[in-house]
């Protein structure tokens, strides 16, 4: 390719960056938001805003499960499947759910869920239809509107190119230790390079980890071959082997009353005295083949598959369980997956993950902007189609995604709670706002357009807590007073973003004025002697 390995790595870094930077920016943006999936779900659902955290959440679980069984026996004794989802640290409500019998065309049966306040055991007000944090999650690994397989392949390859960009970036950054703390301000492209290097290096372990493990989460789609060659019935055979399943009583016929759930819970607590139960699932309740699965929170252990115990519902015997001790290979695979989703992360680690995510977004954004500036410098005034495309995509993506996010949340508050399909309409609002940013970028891509977008974003971010205050019973002050921290931090973050966008507007204004002054100065050409 080029003369030396170093030059070829520089070349590779630019090319893999070029091909994927805007997709990767979207993935990082949506991924960072997804770390707060539960909090976004909470904010989007006013019905659960005032559910107080339980004083002794784990101790209350046994009673909640028993009551759940009573409730489900009463309302859905013949349902094919029950699911009791217990409150967690970040999900404050209790759910008793049962499946309706599957229609012929459906892939999965529809669940009827009753949400309860775990403190009062009363049903909560009806939930509004919203995707909440799950929207960002799906945007992150599937790019939302694309079909499942295509979207994931695109994300896979974009992430692989990202990994290559990071590796090649480390190789070409010769002064990585010398320049670790340097940041030269107000030096044009140099400052952008410093920002790019800084955001890359400061979270380098995170970037490497999150990119590698991200691809691992989709690895069976990318490389099904090991499972295909090792197992006779391929992937299905492999998954059956690794997940504990009831092969003892699941073939029994006829109906049979289930044992009281207490007997099963006794066994769970004997095995794991401090068990923090996440959910209890029953397949074929009140049948001889019924299976009760108890899923337990793994705490800070790096486990991907939730540890579980499977019991026969009719006889109460333990028929299967997840491994107590993982083999090294299993531990490797599970910890890689667990590190990516970070479900175990307590607030401290979670915020550090978010710091890494923000550093990643800054890394990609500064890379895109610096590259556009370099091309512009080399083009000397004439803007080729390529340059226009790069600058346009930069503006539309970097400034458009925040606007789209704000629109999503504003739509959540403004759309009527009973409107059908409102969850899809919220998502439409997101993409429409992004389209608007795209149209602005299509028209022109100067500092003026960036300033306009920054001002619009500042307004949009301010509107989110404002609209929240006007349409719900709470507002940022009441959240602070009642110690509703998740909601308070959510609103406060949007206020902070609003201020940051205002600062950006100001900086762009001074930069624009400076640019105008240099352009208006008459350029004195030196007279060349013809001797």
């Amino acid at each position: 390719m080029k003369d030396s390995f170093f030059r070829s790595m520089t070349w590779l870094h630019t090319w893999v960056g070029l091909l994927t930077c805007w997709i990767i920016y979207t993935i990082f943006f949506a991924g960072t938001a997804s770390f707060f999936r539960d909090e976004i779900n909470l904010w989007n659902q006013p019905a659960i805003h005032n559910v107080q955290a339980q004083t002794d959440r784990v101790a209350a679980q046994r009673l909640q499960i028993i009551k759940g069984f009573d409730y489900l026996n009463q309302h859905a004794a013949n349902s094919p499947s029950w699911r009791i989802t217990l409150p967690e640290e970040r999900i404050p409500y209790l759910v008793y759910g049962y499946a309706k019998p599957k229609e012929p065309e459906q892939r999965r049966s529809q669940f009827v869920n009753t949400q309860l306040n775990p403190n009062t055991m009363q049903a909560l007000p009806p939930f509004v239809e919203t995707k909440g944090g799950n929207f960002f999650y799906r945007l992150h690994y599937q790019l939302y509107y694309l079909d499942a397989i295509t979207g994931r392949w695109v994300v896979c390859f974009a992430s692989f190119f990202m990994l290559l960009a990071i590796i090649s970036g480390v190789v070409i950054h010769k002064r990585i230790f010398k320049d670790m703390f340097s940041f030269r301000r107000n030096k044009g492209v140099r400052s952008w390079l410093d920002a790019h290097n800084l955001s890359s290096v400061l979270a380098l372990p995170f970037h490497l980890m999150i990119t590698y493990t991200g691809i691992i989460t989709l690895i069976f789609m990318l490389f099904p071959y090991p499972a295909l060659t090792t197992y006779d019935n391929g992937i299905r055979g492999f998954f059956n082997d690794v997940s504990p399943s009831n092969n003892v009583t699941n073939k029994a016929l006829g109906s049979a009353a289930m044992l009281p759930i207490n007997t099963i819970l006794d066994q769970v607590y004997t095995k794991w005295p401090d068990a923090d139960i996440r959910s209890v699932r029953v397949s074929e309740p009140n049948m001889a083949a019924s299976t009760v699965t108890v899923l337990v929170d793994p705490g800070k252990a790096l486990r991907d598959q939730t540890p579980r115990l499977l019991f026969s519902g009719a006889t109460g015997e333990l028929v299967a369980q997840s491994d107590d001790e993982l083999t090294n290979s299993k531990a490797l695979y599970e910890s890689l997956n667990a590190m990516h989703t970070g479900r175990f992360a307590t607030p401290l680690l979670r915020w550090l993950y978010v710091l890494g995510g923000i550093a990643g977004c800054v890394m990609i954004a500064t890379g895109c902007i610096m590259w556009a500036k370099r091309i512009r410098e080399r083009s000397k005034g004439k803007a080729s189609f390529g340059l226009q495309l790069v600058e346009g995509l930069n503006l539309a993506t970097i400034m458009g995604l925040p606007l789209a996010t704000c629109s999503f949340f504003i739509a959540n508050r403004l759309l009527s709670p009973t409107l059908s399909g409102r969850d899809d309409k919220e998502v439409t609002a997101f993409f429409l706002a992004w389209l608007v940013a795209g149209v602005i970028a299509l028209i022109k891509r100067d500092k003026l357009q960036w300033r306009i977008m920054a001002a619009i974003n500042a307004l949009a971010c301010l509107s989110v807590p404002l609209v929240n205050a006007l349409t719900t019973n709470g507002n940022i002050v009441s959240y602070l007073m009642h110690k509703q921290w998740a909601l308070f931090i959510f609103d406060a973050l949007f206020l902070l973003f609003s201020i940051l966008f205002l600062v950006q507007t100001e900086k762009l204004r001074t930069a624009e004025n400076a640019q105008r002054k240099t352009k208006s100065k008459p350029v004195v050409k030196p007279v060349r002697s013809k001797l």
Binding site: K178, M180, F181, S182, F183, R185, L198, V201, L202, A203, P205, F206, M209, K300, A301, L302, S335, M339, F344, A345, L348, L349, L352, Y353, L355, G356, A359
Partner: protein
């Protein structure tokens, strides 16, 4: 509290790594570091960062390692901000950092 000790050690370590560089040392102390000072700062930096890692991993192996990487990122960010934007406050900051280490260390030792 143990995480506070680990984090402040990590922060201190990167502070020493920064001071070990000639340009940053000159920004703070207005003179070049001697060879001995340079070596001492590097040694101090390595000791504190390894101590920080050990404390994190000791409490919970995998989780602790991730936390340590997070601490490193946050430390580099804070140190970069101080050395490029708040150079005058570096001395005060370093003293506060050392105080934090001693306080959290004592707190842990006494409990």
């Amino acid at each position: 509290m143990i995480y506070l000790l680990s984090f402040s050690l990590c922060l201190f370590s990167f502070n020493c790594f920064a001071l070990a560089k000639f340009n940053h040392f000159k920004d703070v102390f207005k003179k070049r570091p001697t060879e001995l000072q340079h070596k001492q700062l590097l040694a101090l930096a390595w000791i504190s960062i390894l101590l920080s890692l050990a404390i994190c991993v000791e409490t919970q192996s995998g989780y602790g390692a991730l936390l340590f990487c997070g601490f490193m990122s946050l430390s580099v960010l804070i140190i970069t901000i101080f050395y490029n934007l708040l150079t005058r406050l570096v001395k005060v900051f370093s003293v506060l950092n050392a105080v934090l280490i001693t306080v959290s260390g004592l707190f842990l030792a006494l409990n």
